[in-house]
């Protein structure tokens, strides 16, 4: 979240789309209800399903799954064409005035630079037009036809209310009603928030979807203000933290994993450190060398020296264009190109797309280690045929599966220390309350014991890659049982000359005199102690920032981009919506997202970006600098804007023998997956009360479709996709209205996720059905808006 849970109470309009907080984040949702109660805020809910959030909304508009960019693009068009944008904000704080090159274009669903053979773009024509000093040229009047504002206006001119209605299947009048309320925040004195969750991330165009939402919020001047922002309601206790700490192609703190062509630390830093694109850009990522060098010092300690590039060569390098995200490596595992796999508290058979492919992939391993609280579908994958009954009838018998499996019992949250990061970016420290059951062990001890045992084998026998393995610093007081307090102190970073904890990332150096395990967490454990464990109740701004409760990254800042809550001269856009204020010599209030004592005109308001301002237009994403509506990879209709470029041209779709994509003639219905408030993911099927409250898997069907098929509530139905099937009783409701799209009636089928073949209660895994189709930027699978058929059994 740019803002935070408590801050939602400051909003005037809450748009909930791609999420259902009343059901899935009920305690956080109380802040929406507080805004409604205390500020008469309006709640707008856009979703294929009339869900629990819709039930308490002021306005609900149904839409077809996978068409969110069309809806949001329509809002951009509505705001611009009805003169509802906060134009002073747009001029002061965005790249709307920047000029594009004259060879940039868009037609028939493709931007300039499209290479149909490589299925990717040459981005040269997407760049800004630069002046002689390397800065972007701008037109402050926004009238130049090559300005981003004019290009954006033209790009979304196609997204009229009628076109939105045609694509999304909603009614143009309903769209306009929602647009009027949402765009009412496009002026000083009113602010709107956007809340989303996996309903936005589970698409083959998910990153662009969130990009569209950010564009809308910038047009309305809602970024950086209390009660505003783009707010991801994250679905698990520490997936924000897991993202911060680096996975896939990242090092901790959003530093990029080096690639083979970055042959030295210098080459890596040159490639990953941005240059300012405007004279007043602070370009804070210009400090990348300090963050990267301090991380290397944290990893390699005294072995990291200037002469050896601080150990940079020991880090693994990706190939120049290589992608090792989920879809790609499970595909390699399926092809027997991987031999071993370790799962620390994750359950790929349940969580990954196309369950049968997951099962086949794991059966192609030599060995598998699973570290868990409970037996999972992944740990017992070799027994899926017996446990999963009819859904895996083609799957092999255990006797034919040669994978060696070791299942290790781990401590749960209550049995170990450490910090979780909630959606508000608050790092909250928890303490171990009891020891783990039986002879289970805490995860950090399991990691340490395995790592030390591997190193002991190398020490004894020698082997490949010994230098990089032995170079990793592991100097904990008890190497087999490191204390998490010790680790947290290492993550914060220290001054290696004095041995003191650094006060924050501003103290980090690129000369090897500081260490830091994750620069965005620097400040979490200073000489003052463990700031994550703070319990202060003060709220001096009255905005619900609680600056002394826990610790928020970065720098204990509670609202990101808060400089933008003031105009160019440093005056709040409105007295009620500024979390920082300029008193003539410094900024007061929240920790400023700006230099604390720099005048309002010294820098652009968005200090992290090389532009110094927020971006409507970005060259960083795979499929275009502006978001465009593309259909899901399986869709019941062709794209109404450009039928020949129907779905995302850059989205990866796997093609192994276990993969298949369906077509609407065989699979005519649009499926969505969702959570229920009684369950948490695939865990609470092990918990008695969850098992009792929602014991049974079910399939939600619209009344009209059920009638057409002769299905009554409680009848057992089979849902099938090109990948697999699920079966369960039908729950016939009026919650998913039939939608008319391109002259066709479109029905949705809703399937809850929480069951599996291991648990106190059991049921089919919804991912039996889902496709191995992914977003090209994030690698996230398309779990919303895939095609299925339904039959009565």
């Amino acid at each position: 979240m740019t803002n935070g849970w408590c801050d939602i109470a400051n909003t005037d309009v809450a748009l909930v789309m791609g999420g259902n907080p009343a059901e899935n984040h009920p305690v956080g949702f109380r802040f929406v209800m507080e805004a409604k109660r205390k500020r008469k805020a309006k709640l707008i809910c856009i979703d294929p399903r009339f869900n629990r959030t819709a039930a308490v909304s002021d306005l609900y508009v149904p839409m077809r799954a996978g068409t969110d960019i069309a809806f949001l693009g329509g809002l951009i068009h509505y705001a611009i064409s009805n003169d509802l944008c906060h134009m002073d904000y747009v001029r002061a704080h965005t790249n709307a005035p920047f000029l594009l090159r004259d060879d940039f274009s868009f037609s028939e669903g493709h931007f300039s630079g499209w290479d149909a053979e490589k299925k990717s773009y040459d981005k040269a024509s997407w760049q800004y037009e630069l002046d002689g000093s390397g800065y972007a040229k701008v037109d402050p009047t926004l009238e130049n036809p090559r300005s981003i504002f004019q290009q954006m206006k033209r790009h979304y001119s196609r997204y009229t209310p009628e076109k939105v209605a045609e694509i999304c299947g909603c009614n143009a009048e309903d769209f306009k009603k929602a647009a009027a309320v949402i765009c009412s925040t496009g002026r000083a004195g009113k602010v709107g928030t956007i809340l989303y969750a996996l309903g936005w991330t589970h698409h083959s165009h998910s990153v662009q979807l969130i990009h569209t939402a950010a564009m809308l919020q910038l047009l309305l001047g809602n970024i950086g203000l209390p009660g505003g922002g783009i707010n991801a309601q994250r679905g698990h206790a520490n997936i924000q933290g897991s993202t911060d700490m680096g996975a896939w192609n990242m090092l901790p703190g959003y530093l990029r994993l080096p690639r083979a062509n970055h042959v030295s630390l210098d080459a890596y830093l040159k490639a990953t450190t941005p240059k300012p694109l405007r004279p007043n850009s602070m370009n804070y990522w210009g400090n990348t060398p300090k963050f990267a060098t301090s991380l290397l010092k944290s990893y390699y300690g005294d072995r990291a020296k200037k002469e050896n590039d601080f150990g940079y060569q020991w880090l693994p390098k990706l190939g120049e264009t290589e992608n090792q995200s989920w879809g790609y490596f499970f595909d390699r595992m399926h092809r027997k190109e991987m031999h071993g796999f370790i799962s620390f508290g994750m359950n790929p058979v349940a969580n990954g797309p196309n369950t049968e492919k997951m099962l086949e992939a794991l059966a192609n391993l030599d060995w598998l280690v699973v570290v868990e609280n409970f037996e999972t579908e992944t740990a017992s994958f070799w027994n899926a045929k017996k446990l999963g009954e009819k859904f895996y009838s083609k799957y092999v018998d255990p006797a034919k599966i040669q994978t060696e499996v070791i299942l290790l019992p781990a401590a749960c949250f209550a049995e170990k220390d450490g910090s979780f990061v909630n959606s508000s970016r608050w790092l909250q420290w928890k303490k171990a309350a009891v020891p783990p059951p039986g002879i289970a062990k805490p995860d950090h001890e399991i990691i340490a014991r395995i790592f030390m045992a591997v190193r002991a084998l190398y020490a004894k026998e020698g082997g490949k890659g010994m230098e990089s393995l032995m170079a990793m610093q592991w100097n904990y007081a008890q190497p087999l049982t490191p204390s998490l307090e010790e680790v947290a102190r290492e993550v914060n970073g220290r001054d290696l000359t004095t041995g003191a904890q650094v006060p924050g990332f501003a103290a980090l150096k690129d000369d090897g005199s500081t260490s830091c395990g994750n620069w965005v967490y620097s400040g979490s454990w200073t000489e003052a102690g463990n700031n994550m464990a703070r319990r202060g109740q003060e709220d001096p701004t009255g905005l619900g920032l609680f600056p002394n409760y826990a610790w928020s990254w970065p720098a204990n800042r509670r609202i990101l981009y808060n400089r933008a809550s003031n105009d160019a001269d440093g005056k709040p856009w409105s007295e009620n919506h500024a979390s920082i204020r300029w008193n003539g010599t410094k900024w007061t209030g929240d920790v400023p997202d700006y230099k604390a004592d720099a005048g309002p005109h010294d820098y652009g308001a968005f200090i992290m970006l090389p532009e110094g301002v927020a971006k409507f237009y970005t060259t960083e994403l795979a499929e275009g600098p502006f978001p465009e509506h593309y259909e899901p990879m399986e869709s019941p209709v062709k794209n109404a804007l450009h039928p020949n470029a129907s779905s995302n041209p850059c989205a990866p779709v796997m093609t192994s023998s276990a993969d298949a994509m369906g077509t609407p003639d065989k699979y005519p219905y649009v499926a969505i997956t969702y959570r229920l408030t009684e369950h948490f993911h695939y865990w609470t099927k092990h918990v008695a009360s969850g098992a009792e409250l929602q014991s049974n898997f079910f399939v939600e069907l619209p009344e009209a479709l059920a009638k057409e098929k002769g299905i009554k509530g409680g009848d057992v139905v089979r849902v099938s996709s090109a990948r697999g099937t699920v079966e369960g009783p039908a729950m016939v409701t009026q919650r998913m209205r039939p939608l008319t799209v391109g002259g066709k009636t479109i029905y949705h089928v809703g399937i809850p996720i929480h069951w599996g073949y291991v648990g106190r209660v059991r049921g089919p895994l919804v991912n039996n059905l889902t496709p191995s189709a992914f977003d090209p930027n994030s690698g996230t699978p398309e779990y919303k808006g895939f095609l299925v058929n339904v039959e009565k059994l």
């Binding site: 305690v27 090092l251 030599d366 609280n373 499996v405 045992a453």
Partner: protein, 193 residues
């Protein structure tokens, strides 16, 4: 503004003081009832492991002072001092005790041999040794010090690693060191699905 009294101070005030400090208001009476329920427990501050609202919870345990017994969780409730949840919890959070104290929890390492149809017990030492051997053999075979162009890459892509959604930051940091020490490239997390 009302003086801020956090929950611990409130309870510390105790039943005897309640009458004078709080009169006979309902809050006082319910606090007495609460205190009886949790009178002999230890309290530990924690955070709910489910969704990322990040509700503060208080875990009540007992058995720390009992000979030959392991301390156990007897009650988990919302933390009134948390600005996020102010003592409230959802239907999942309120039953967290059943998650921790649960007869389905794994209590010992288990082993499934290639081709076998069942789990057998294995000791920690043997399990760790087997895993270390597997990792070393896989790495010896698959580790690439240089790529085809002779560039140093120190990478391993035949061994994958994934992390879960309640791994703390500190565990994730250690997993990162484990990953980069071994040179593992395929590394994903629940955060990205």
């Amino acid at each position: 503004m009302m003086p801020q009294v956090n929950r611990r101070q409130f309870l510390q005030a105790g039943a005897a003081v309640t009458a004078t400090a709080f009169g006979f208001r309902l809050e006082g009476a319910s606090a007495v009832a609460r205190e009886l329920k949790i009178a002999r427990t230890n309290q530990v501050q924690s955070v709910c492991p489910y969704c990322a609202v990040g509700c503060g919870v208080v875990i009540h345990t007992s058995g720390e002072r009992v000979k030959n017994a392991r301390p156990t969780v007897v009650h988990i409730e919302g933390d009134p001092d948390s600005p996020v949840n102010r003592g409230t919890l959802c239907s999942k959070g309120i039953s967290l005790k059943e998650f921790v104290v649960n007869d389905r929890r794994l209590t010992k390492p288990m082993y499934r041999a290639p081709g076998s149809g069942e789990w057998t017990d294995i000791s920690w030492d043997e399990a760790i040794q087997k895993i270390a051997r597997r990792i070393k053999d896989t790495r010896d075979k698959g580790f690439q010090e240089q790529d085809a162009q002779g560039r140093t890459v120190n990478r391993l892509d035949t061994l994958g690693l994934i992390g879960g959604c309640t791994d703390t930051n500190e565990i994730n940091y250690l997993l990162g060191k484990f990953r980069f020490g071994l040179g593992i490239l395929p590394y994903e997390n629940q955060a990205r699905l």
